[in-house]
């Protein structure tokens, strides 16, 4: 057996047969050791040719085992063991070699080889000295001890070694080939194992392994190991990474066996016990066993090369690399290649088996049918099972008839596919989409693609085909088309004009309504297209745009003459004629101009804006366009995005003309409403300054802001020397504020009536009746007049409630509702007692009234600290007082005056008001108001104001001297038309009784006419149906005028707007009112108090500029 040790003959080991060593001829001995019974060498003899080349003297006296490097026997043991040993002695090269003369040098001058025969020794010229092999044959002597006969066997051994190795390798190659050639994968593994074992043993390796590529490109894994159950000792690594061993890659690349891989230095230094973790490479990592000598141990690699690269390698851990003969490496390479080929074949076969399986799997799982036809023999080479499913026919039928695919075509489609063979042969490939009829009657859509496959020589080799069942897709397309049709229909029937453009601004679609809105023939004003095309050519649009989908037949688009960028008129489609299908809008229609040319104005701006919109791709909703002809369109412009990809634009045009008209009508109605509300304000909220006062002049002014404001004021006349002014401002604007103002006024009147009835001792009449008016009729003939001209100044009388009482009651009426409505109002209630020259006032948070004293130049602001009405239910309003002197000017106003702002934002403020009054103090109140107004206008730079501007000016005047001022005559009549004549008579008589003629007869007649008309009106309307009602008349005589007051207990008369009546049309309804207006200079409708309504008619004497001609 190769590799076996030679048996050591031992006298004590009879089980081991002692074989006679070959060639043991003592005579031919080169070397003799005489060994005593203890094994110590006692004498040495050497042949002549070794004289001086072996260290004879050094050997004498030493134990033979020590010399040969084996065990050291225990002292005194008398066991001369003489095993046959072969010694490799390093000898002096000899004189002929010319080496160092000192022959056997120090160190292991005599060294034993490794014990195994084939693996040890070589005539290595690389050694320092000549290595020779000696065979020591023990010859025991009976008396003990013996002789070791040594013979130089170097030449004999080398020859025999070569022969044996040749034979050994041949056997191994044969064995590996036999093992690798089998089909069974296990036999290949067995071959590998055999190889590892034999070569490992041959090399004297500690371990051997096969490495094959692992998971990564540069790492190799140990897949087989010899010895199989190796435990302990030095081991090869589990994985070898090329990066860890820079020398690995070149070796594998070159495919040469190599062995020059010494162990890492770190390993050598630290020893096996601790080598693993300490070293940079986890090689030989396990402890135990004899440590390899770092300088000679290493691993030998045998690359497995079968192709351009190595597919792995064998590695052997060898204790002494120097012992490996170079010649053996070639044999190893052969073995490696052999093994590589076997491994590769195995892999390839595994891959082939796998890929065929995969291909079949793919073909069988395809949704498409695949087949191949031999064109020469017209036989089916291959078809996958899907074909059965698609065609509804068996594989047998298919195999029998390769043309079956086309023969089952639907009769209608057969002409389409009849020449399939010719087509594919002519063009090399062909495609067909057609319907088939299955045996079960089902109809399916197929898409079939055929192509010719050619052999290497260029001859037609196969016709390959693939068939896809596209029934689902076709049906989906049909559904989609139906949906598109529906959508198109929908768009067509929309009431909005729709125009769709694509991303390149080309027209994609427009609907019928769009055509209607923009059809060119309606624009008769558009000049017809001239040859020169100077004017914007009218664009005719087909009245109907068919659905976009037209699969069958060529699309017969209208001719689109391209006249140098002009919008192309669509020939043959008169507007209004419902054109049939086939009329598509020209894609290059200049739709922007088309819309623009219908605009009433702003065409250029429209186009510019359009450009901007399209560029920005932003939507614009609700732009209004006015067309020529009065139509108004609303335009939406919407960019379309599908999955964030811009698709184009949608335009939508809605005809909103009716809506606009309605809106205009609504606007007009609102304006009318505002006007009416303004009139209501003027009549409900704004009172007339009292006339006929003695001792004061009053003027008021309201500049409306244009809307309806909450300002209000009114006068309650108690007597010619006593009146109240209520001025207030409701928070907020609009009709609600106006209504609250009216309610506030009403509350005060209610309060007045209530207090007069309950609290006060009734005078000769209601608080506002003339009973407390002290007229001074000059003639003293007035029916009910009381001569009071010279009477002492009287208080307003017990019947007139105090301002605080009035305010508090009104507050009670109002505040809860105001709080509920979350509103409040500021107010100033001022009572002027002109006889007592006293002003009593209640201030409910209103702007502070100005009280200017011209005599001293002082200026007071009338204010108390009460809060506005509507703040606090528990508020108790208190009175303030001020003494009045002749010439005093009192200014009541709303905050619209002091808060009038100029463009810089500065307010008019009370300072400017005070300055204005100082400057204007000499003017009578009405002129003062005009001048004040002018100042505000100058300050603000505007004649209109944000807020109502309300100002009331009261100037305390010298009391009218008796007789020179007014006098009053009063009479009372039952409310009957029959009393019109006595009433007229009363006026006439009162006038006639005056000291002098105040009005000329014509003027007097006009006044009487107006009074008669007024009285008739009151009787018929104001007091309608009240038989017991009374009508009182007061005739006030002034130096410059006559006033007739018609007083009655009833609703205040609100005159309609009176225009000149049209006598021919029977519209005489306003005739009486018209006559009143025409006949007198001033007409006052108002209310003296809560109960008494007044119609005052004033006729001046012929004062130029004041009175008109009768």
């Amino acid at each position: 057996m190769l590799g076996d040790s030679f048996p050591f003959p031992s006298p004590r080991d009879d089980s081991e047969p002692v074989t006679s060593p070959p060639e043991t001829d003592p005579v031919a001995a080169d070397l003799l050791w005489q060994v005593d019974a203890t094994g110590v060498v006692r004498g040495v003899q050497v042949a002549a040719r070794w004289q001086g080349r072996l260290p004879q003297a050094a050997w004498v006296g030493r134990h033979w085992a020590e010399i040969v490097g084996e065990v050291t026997p225990a002292p005194g043991e008398k066991t001369p063991v003489f095993p046959v040993r072969r010694l490799a002695l390093v000898v002096d090269p000899g004189p002929e070699a010319g080496g160092a003369a000192d022959g056997l040098t120090e160190g292991p001058a005599l060294r034993l080889s490794a014990p195994d025969w084939p693996g040890t020794g070589s005539a290595a010229g690389a050694e320092a000295g000549d290595r020779r092999w000696f065979e020591l044959i023990p010859v025991p002597l009976p008396e003990g001890g013996g002789v070791l006969v040594g013979r130089d066997v170097t030449e004999t051994r080398t020859l025999r070694l070569a022969q044996e190795r040749r034979r050994w390798f041949d056997e191994l190659i044969a064995a590996v080939s036999a093992a690798a050639g089998g089909q069974d994968p296990a036999s290949l593994d067995a071959a590998v194992d055999l190889l590892l074992e034999r070569v490992g043993a041959f090399l004297g390796a500690m371990e051997g392994a096969l490495y094959q590529p692992g998971g990564t490109e540069t790492a190799y894994e140990r897949v087989r190991t010899w010895p199989a159950g190796a435990a302990g000792g030095w081991q090869l690594p589990e994985t070898v990474a090329a990066d860890d061993f820079p020398w690995l890659a070149p070796i594998l690349r070159e495919g040469r066996p190599a062995r020059a891989f010494p162990l890492p230095a770190t390993l050598a230094a630290s020893g096996p016990g601790t080598a693993g973790p300490a070293g940079p490479v986890p090689v030989l990592s396990r402890g135990g066993g004899a440590p390899p000598t770092p300088s000679v141990a290493g691993w030998l690699l045998v690359p497995l090369v079968a192709g351009p690269t190595a597919s792995g390698f064998l590695a052997f851990l060898v204790a002494d690399l120097s012992a490996t003969p170079v010649g053996d490496l070639d044999s190893l390479r052969i073995l490696g290649d052999l093994l590589a080929g076997a491994l590769e074949r195995r892999q390839l076969e595994a891959y082939r088996a796998q890929s065929q399986e995969r291909l079949n799997g793919i073909l069988n799982s395809l949704e498409d049918a695949v087949w191949a036809i031999d064109p020469q023999r017209s036989t089916l080479l291959f078809v996958n099972p899907v074909a059965e499913r698609i065609l509804g026919r068996s594989m047998v039928e298919l195999l029998a008839n390769p043309g079956l695919w086309f023969e089952v075509a639907h009769p209608d489609d057969r002409p389409l596919v009849a020449r399939w063979r010719e087509e594919v042969e002519e063009a090399g490939q062909a495609e067909f989409q057609y319907r088939i009829l299955r045996p079960d009657g089902e109809r399916r859509w197929l898409f079939v693609r055929l192509w010719m496959a050619f052999s290497v020589s260029g001859a037609p080799d196969r016709i390959d085909g693939i068939a896809t069942d596209i029934t689902t897709r076709v049906e989906a397309e049909e559904r989609l088309r139906a949906q598109q049709n529906l959508l198109t229909n929908l768009i067509e029937n929309l009431q909005s004009g729709i125009l769709v453009t694509d991303g390149q601004r080309r027209l994609k679609h427009l609907n019928r309504q769009f055509s209607r809105l923009f059809r060119a023939s309606e624009g008769a004003a558009c000049p017809p297209a001239t040859a020169g095309g100077a004017a914007a050519a009218p664009v005719a649009i087909p009245a109907t745009i068919p659905a976009a989908s037209q699969d069958e037949g060529p699309t017969s688009g209208p001719e689109t003459p391209s006249a140098a960028g002009q919008p192309a008129p669509v020939a043959g489609h008169e507007a209004g004629s419902e054109a049939g299908p086939g009329a598509e809008p020209p894609a290059d229609l200049d739709w922007g101009s088309l819309v623009a040319q219908r605009l009433a104005f702003g065409q250029d701006e429209f186009l510019a804006h359009l450009e901007e919109l399209m560029g920005a791709r932003r939507p614009e909703i609700g732009r209004e366009l006015e067309l020529r002809g009065g139509q108004t369109l609303e335009q939406d412009f919407i960019p379309l995005f599908v999955d964030d990809v811009f698709q184009g634009h949608v335009w939508q045009f809605r005809d909103i003309t009716p809506r606009k008209e309605a809106a205009r009508a609504l606007q007009a109605a609102r304006q009318k409403e505002v006007e009416i509300a303004g009139k209501i304000q003027q009549t409900l909220l704004i009172g007339q300054p009292p006339e006929g006062l003695r001792g004061a002049q009053v003027a008021s002014m309201t500049i409306p802001s244009g809307g309806v404001d909450g300002d209000f004021y009114d006068f309650l006349l108690h007597s010619p020397t006593c009146f109240d002014l209520v001025i207030g401002d409701v928070m907020g604007k609009g009709i609600p504020a106006a209504l609250i103002g009216a309610a506030a006024k009403s509350a005060f009147l209610r309060a007045l009536a209530r207090l007069a009835r309950d609290g006060a001792t009734p005078g000769p009449g209601s608080p506002a009746t003339a009973g407390r008016v002290e007229p001074a009729p000059s003639g003293g003939k007035a029916a009910a007049g009381t001569d009071a001209a010279g009477s002492a100044a009287a208080p307003p009388g017990p019947g007139v409630p105090a301002p605080a009482a009035l305010t508090n009651l009104a507050h009670r009426y109002l505040t809860r509702q105001l709080i509920h409505l979350q509103r409040f109002l500021t107010l100033c209630f001022a009572r002027f007692d002109l006889e007592a020259r006293r002003l009593t006032f209640v201030d409910a948070g209103h702007t502070k009234a100005l009280h200017f004293h011209p005599a001293t130049g002082r200026c007071d602001w009338l204010a108390a600290d009460n809060s506005p009405l509507g703040f606090d239910e528990d508020e108790v309003y208190a009175e303030g007082e001020a003494a009045l002197q002749e010439g005093d000017i009192l200014v009541f106003y709303s905050d619209g005056l002091t808060e009038a702002a100029n463009p810089a934002g500065d307010l008019f403020e009370t300072e400017r008001l005070e300055q204005a009054i100082r400057d204007l103090q000499g003017l009578p109140p009405d002129h003062l108001l005009e001048a004040l107004h002018q100042r505000v206008v100058d300050f603000t730079g505007s004649r209109t104001f944000d807020d109502d501007l309300t100002v009331v000016v009261v100037r305390i005047a010298q009391e009218t001297p008796a007789g020179s001022g007014s006098s009053c005559a009063e009479a009372e009549f039952a409310a009957d038309l029959g009393n019109l004549a006595p009433l007229r008579e009363f006026i006439q008589v009162t006038h006639d009784r005056a000291a002098r003629e105040i009005l000329d007869p014509d003027r007097l007649a006009a006044l009487i006419l107006a009074a008669s008309e007024g009285a008739a009106n009151i009787v018929l309307h104001g007091l309608a149906g009240r038989a017991e009602a009374r009508l009182r008349i007061q005739v006030w005589t002034f130096e410059d005028r006559l006033e007739v007051w018609l007083l009655y207990d009833g609703p205040e008369f609100t005159p309609p707007v009176v225009s000149e009546p049209d006598l021919t049309q029977g519209r005489e309804g306003g005739l009486g009112l018209y006559i009143i207006r025409e006949a007198v200079d001033e007409v006052v409708y108002d209310r003296l108090d809560a109960r008494t309504a007044r119609l005052a008619l004033i006729k001046f004497a012929a004062t130029p500029g004041r009175a008109k001609e009768p």
Binding site: L977, G978, L980, A981, R984, D1002, A1005, A1006, I1008, L1009, S1012, E1013, A1016, V1019, L1020, E1060, P1061, L1063, T1064, G1066, E1068, L1071, G1072, Y1074, I1075, E1078, A1079, P1110
Partner: protein
């Protein structure tokens, strides 16, 4: 309240009252209506009327429209100063011819454009 004469196929109505106002206008109208026929040519002599108000004016206008609608004709004569003032005020002269005296008025009737 009213005297009635006929001259040249013209009915001359002369109120005997001194005023025509809201108090008596309705009664006056009833009396006048009794003397009106289709196509009547009527002269209203206002000599006695000292006061006329809008109601009275309304009655006169009513007569005027009634006659005009039936092919007749109304003329007025001899209004007093105050009545004239009122007529001016409402521009009545542009609708109903007003004459200073009866002769002038009857002459105007005598030459109708369409008799």
């Amino acid at each position: 309240m009213l005297t009635v004469e006929t001259a040249d196929r013209v009915t001359i109505l002369a109120p005997t009252i001194d005023r025509l106002d809201a108090a008596n206008a309705a009664a006056f109208r009833l009396q006048v209506d009794a003397h009106l026929a289709l196509g009547s040519r009527v002269l209203l002599d206002l000599e006695k009327i000292q006061f006329l108000d809008s109601t009275g004016l309304g009655v006169i206008l009513g007569i005027f429209r009634q006659l005009k609608g039936s092919g007749g004709e109304l003329r007025l004569c001899r209004p007093g100063p105050h009545v004239q003032t009122l007529f001016r005020m409402v521009r009545l002269g542009s609708k109903i011819p007003v004459h200073a005296d009866r002769t002038e008025a009857l002459a105007a009737f005598a030459a109708p454009p369409a008799a």
